[in-house]
Amino acid sequence: MTLYPPADYMDEQQLINGLIAGDDRAFCAAISRFQHSMLTIARAIVGDAFADDVVQDAWIAIHNNIGKFEQRSSLKTWVMTIVSNEAKGRLRRESRKVSLEELDGETPGSYLDGANFKSDGHRIAATPFWHTESPEEILEEKQLQRCINKTLSILPPAQKTAFLLRDIEQQSFEEICEILQVSAANVRVLLHRARLTLMQVIDRFQETGTC
């Protein structure tokens, strides 16, 4: 039997009712809606190795406690609080801290490399032109998508987390500070570095057609 796509559960109240009733289609709908965000938050707190376990435990907690959900927040906020608490509980057992080494220095060859600027701070070379600046046209490039995925997979963990939480999950800077346990200024540095690395991938792709 195919449970997915769960078209009946587009409305949040219907989804909550379905979850309370223990309907598998409602759980599939909730998984489709929240799983990636939950994994992002779990990875941010406990790292890749434990994130899957944490998210599964969070789903079990959601299943067990959905009847007590008072709807004083959105379902998403409630779900993210549960996964965040599960991850923090796991973190207490598996000590892990964000490495602030990622905030030190400038990567040679990056846009922030001092070698790109004259002594007065102006650019030595002009910013490269792109063949297309249309997001729609850029999104059609399957090879570029592979390049972006590859780059995301090798970004330093804290940079990747800051980028995923902010630009993918649209979390506030305050929430990201809380999750990463770093200052807002540090979150902004991590995010900027991640974006610049990804922009460099598009730059290179526009110039060479390869990663």
């Binding site: 769960p6 600046e133 900027h192």
Partner: protein, 82 residues
């Protein structure tokens, strides 16, 4: 007056409205005079629009909700048995 290096460092803060006081005005003054930094900021803005879309496309391809549900049920059963 800000230079290109300053603007390169401040670009995300500018786009995220995290530059406060006179800083946004100073950045805009530099951008009026510097086509390279205008292009740089424009490309960064496009990057922040395009990369999330790539990620969403990838995530949509990867997720199998029924498979995830099956694994959750198996884990719940193991927890109940232990």
């Amino acid at each position: 007056m800000l230079n290109c290096k300053d603007v390169t460092y401040l670009a995300s803060d500018y786009l995220d409205n995290n530059a406060h006081g006179l800083l946004p005005w100073k950045i805009r003054m530099h951008l009026l005079a510097c086509s390279c930094c205008r292009r740089f900021i424009r490309h960064l803005k496009i990057t922040t629009k395009v990369v999330p879309q790539f990620v969403y496309q990838q995530q949509a391809q990867e997720l199998n909700a029924e498979d995830v549900l099956r694994r959750i049920k198996e884990r719940r059963q193991r927890q109940e048995e232990s």
